[in-house]
Structure formats: structure tokens, C-alpha cells
């Protein structure tokens, strides 16, 4: 590796009443908040940063310790330091609607239908919809984004026969809620959500723009209309680094 010759950081004042490590912490915090280090990105090594600021590595580490304590970054022995990702809360309740949840946290929701078709229902999906396993059901794959970043990948299964035109509606309209409305379901509620975790397939990792070495949260959920009839069983895969499911009671 080529050694960079850097001029010592300007603006650092030695012996000016404010400890060096505090000035460094403030500088790094500003850079992170300004987006000069992207969420999840790796920071330069301690050696590089201490060279940049013209201080001993201990001094730099004191600043990093402060930022880690305050949750702005996370260090991993042997790997490096990483800017904390901005984790979005995803509350699970009777009224679980992607767009509303994302907007409530001042992010811009978006969605895209990737594929529609028909598949044999997996055992879990069949159980949720009250069908025998292997029964063929219509499905739609949808990618949800928050501020343009992939957030979740959902496969929505619809009870056979009940919504013959749902896939057409979804083709024009990437919102499940609105497609259901067009199919005569003005409102629905979340009945049950089952949560587990596993590693992503290569395709899932690619779609979620996530490392294959990081897990995904897997949710199986059932939505019902107001009469209690199932309208949709959805299997959603969340990027574990970007979503935190929240249950309040």
C-alpha cells in the first residue's frame, strides 16, 4: 500500500482548553452526520486516522470510544470501524402499512413489483391461508425501499379465486394496499406475524443490496379483511442491518 503524505489536520488546537480527543470526536461526528461517511461504511483504520489528525493512536481511540458509546459507530476487532447504519423501526401491529411506517420516520417510501405469477404454496403459507400445502396460489414479489435504499423483499400470496384481477392491478400499482382496494377490500388488518432469521440466498442479498454474510429477518404474516377472512399471506425478508421490528404492548 502506498503511504499517503497528508498534512496534519488543521483546526485542531493543542492546549486550548479542549482536549484533543474531544475535538477529534466532534470532527468525526460532524463528518458522519454530514454524510461524508455513509451509514454502514467502513471508516479509515485507526492508524490512518491518527496520522490524519497528527495524534497518537490512543488519543484517536479515546475519540472513537466516545462515538461508539454514543452509538454513532461500531468497531470490530480485526475488521475495522463502521458507521452505524440508520436502523428504521418497523412496528408490528394490527395496522401495519409499509408506506405509513416509513413516512412516520421522515423517509421517502417507494416500492416496485418485481414479478407476479403462481406457485405451489409452501406449508407455512398454506397454513396461514387455510389451504392444503402445494395448492397453487397467485403471488407478487415486491421490493420496498426507504429513501431509495432497499428495505424489504416481500412475497405476497393471495387466496385462490377470490381476487381474479389482483395481479393486473398490481402491475399498474406497486402498492398492495391500493391493489387490494381495487379488488374490493377497503381495509384489512394484520392478524399474526411469525418472525425468524436466516442467511439470504444470493438473489435476496443482491436485491437487498446486502452482504451475503449478514442475515435477514424473515416474517410470515397474515392479513385479514374486516370480516376475518384472509386476504393476503406475506413472507417478507428484511435487511437485518436496516430494519428493527418493534412490538409494543
Amino acid at each position: 500500500m502506498v503511504e499517503d503524505f497528508v498534512t496534519p489536520e488543521p483546526g485542531l488546537q493543542r492546549g486550548a482548553g479542549l482536549a484533543l480527543w474531544r475535538q477529534i470526536a466532534a470532527t468525526l461526528e460532524g463528518e458522519i452526520r454530514a454524510g461524508r461517511h455513509a451509514p454502514g461504511a467502513r471508516l479509515p483504520t485507526e492508524a490512518a486516522l491518527s496520522a490524519r489528525f497528527g495524534v497518537n493512536r490512543h488519543t484517536l481511540r479515546r475519540a472513537m470510544e466516545e462515538l461508539e458509546l454514543r452509538g454513532l459507530l461500531r468497531t470490530e476487532q480485526g475488521r475495522g470501524s463502521f458507521v452505524a447504519e440508520d436502523v428504521l423501526d418497523y412496528p408490528l401491529g394490527p395496522r401495519t402499512r409499509f408506506s405509513e411506517i416509513i413516512r412516520a420516520q421522515n423517509r421517502e417510501p417507494a416500492g416496485r413489483i418485481l414479478r407476479v405469477g403462481e406457485v405451489a404454496a409452501e406449508p407455512r403459507v398454506a397454513e396461514l391461508l387455510g389451504l392444503r400445502p402445494g395448492r397453487r396460489v397467485a403471488f407478487a414479489d415486491r421490493l420496498s425501499l426507504a429513501d431509495g435504499r432497499p428495505f424489504a423483499l416481500g412475497r405476497h400470496h393471495f387466496p385462490p379465486g377470490r381476487f381474479p384481477r389482483i395481479l393486473e392491478h398490481l402491475r399498474e400499482e406497486p402498492s398492495i394496499t391500493r391493489a387490494l382496494a381495487l379488488s374490493g377490500v377497503p381495509d384489512y388488518r394484520r392478524r399474526i406475524t411469525r418472525i425468524t432469521a436466516r442467511m439470504p440466498s444470493p438473489e435476496e442479498a443482491a436485491m437487498l443490496e446486502q452482504s451475503r454474510a449478514r442475515p435477514i429477518l424473515l416474517c410470515e404474516a397474515l392479513n385479514e379483511d374486516l370480516e376475518g377472512r384472509p386476504v393476503e399471506a406475506v413472507v417478507t425478508r428484511y435487511a437485518a442491518g436496516r430494519a428493527q421490528l418493534v412490538v409494543e404492548s
Copy 2:
């Protein structure tokens, strides 16, 4: 690998009104249910099984497909077939008590306190307890088991000062509920649970008797007494293959 010389499976009847693949599926199902293939264990290869039953691999695959559809096993291209693990449901609600939940599914709950002590509160824990990050709090690490198999690993943090003898109580009594009762909290309720997933540390994987390549579910939760004061912030790590968190609404 040494080739085993096996006698062709007896008991399989050709042309007897019941398709060979159905007989094979029934045989394998019986073996799995009888515990001859442990949950999570890898089955013999399709080649080995088709040799054992004296059938073509296509016939065997038809039987496997049936079992996979019914959720008894799962096949992974290039890796093999695996007996589905028996996943325990873990409902999250106001009254979330480990022992009751496990017993409700006809398993035998158990627990062990691994360590007690004092640590600087992580940012998330501090926020739940309403403390500043880094404040030192008493904690207890507890391993929970179901039918003798590790199920979850929890670190329980207690608000400073309020329960001076809680760690002593826990040393004699591996139940958090009972230790809190001894400290004057007859009842409590779950206020909030935040769920995410990550890879386990070597220690976590060892404690949970789980492969390091499989993720864990990470729950941060707050329990309050009946007056709404926090009594415990707990960070629980569940073996993702053995636990499925359930939210009903």
C-alpha cells in the same frame, strides 16, 4: 468415503396399489418422527437413499418432494437434505414468561444463571432504562433451555440502586420472575420488544450449541412494574433455527 454394502430395503411392495414413492415417503416420515434422524441433521444423499430403497433417484426425489412440501425436511442444492428443526413458537405480548411459554408447548423449561456482575450500559439498554449511555448497571446472564436444548441467551439489566440484592437472589434462583418477586416486584409486564438479527459471536454460538454460520435473533425488551417503572431491560439472543417469535393482534 467407504461405500456401504446395504441389502435392498425390505417391506417395499412393488405393484401393490400403493406407489413406491408414497411407501418411501411414509417410511422416511416414520423414521424422522421416531427421532432416527435428529432435527437439523443431514439426511443421506439422494444417491445413498435411492440405493437403500432399491429405486431410481427420480422415485426417491418424488418422496422427498412430498416431505419437503409437508415441512418435514428442507433440501439445499449442492449441500444436501436436512431434517426440519422443531421450531418453538415464542409469543411476544404483555405477559411474556419463558417457562409458561415453553410449558404451553409441552416442553420442559429450564434455566441457568451463567454470570452476574456490573457493566456499562450499551446505548440501547441505557435508553430503555432511561439512563445515560455508559452508566454502570447490574446484569445477569441467563441461559434458557427447552427439553435440555439451549434456546435463548439473555442478558438482564436492572435499574441501578433499585434492587440492591437482586444478584444474590438470582444466584440461588435461576428464574428472573422469582428473583424480582423476592425483590418486591410481584408482577411485571412487557412494554416493548425490538427485534433484529445478526451473526453470533463464538461464545454465543457455543452457548446456544449452534453453528457460527447461522444467525441469531436479537431482542431488546423492557419490562415494567404495574406502576410503569422499568424493572428490567433484557437483551435476548435466540437460536434462529429453534425459535420463531410470534406477534398476534
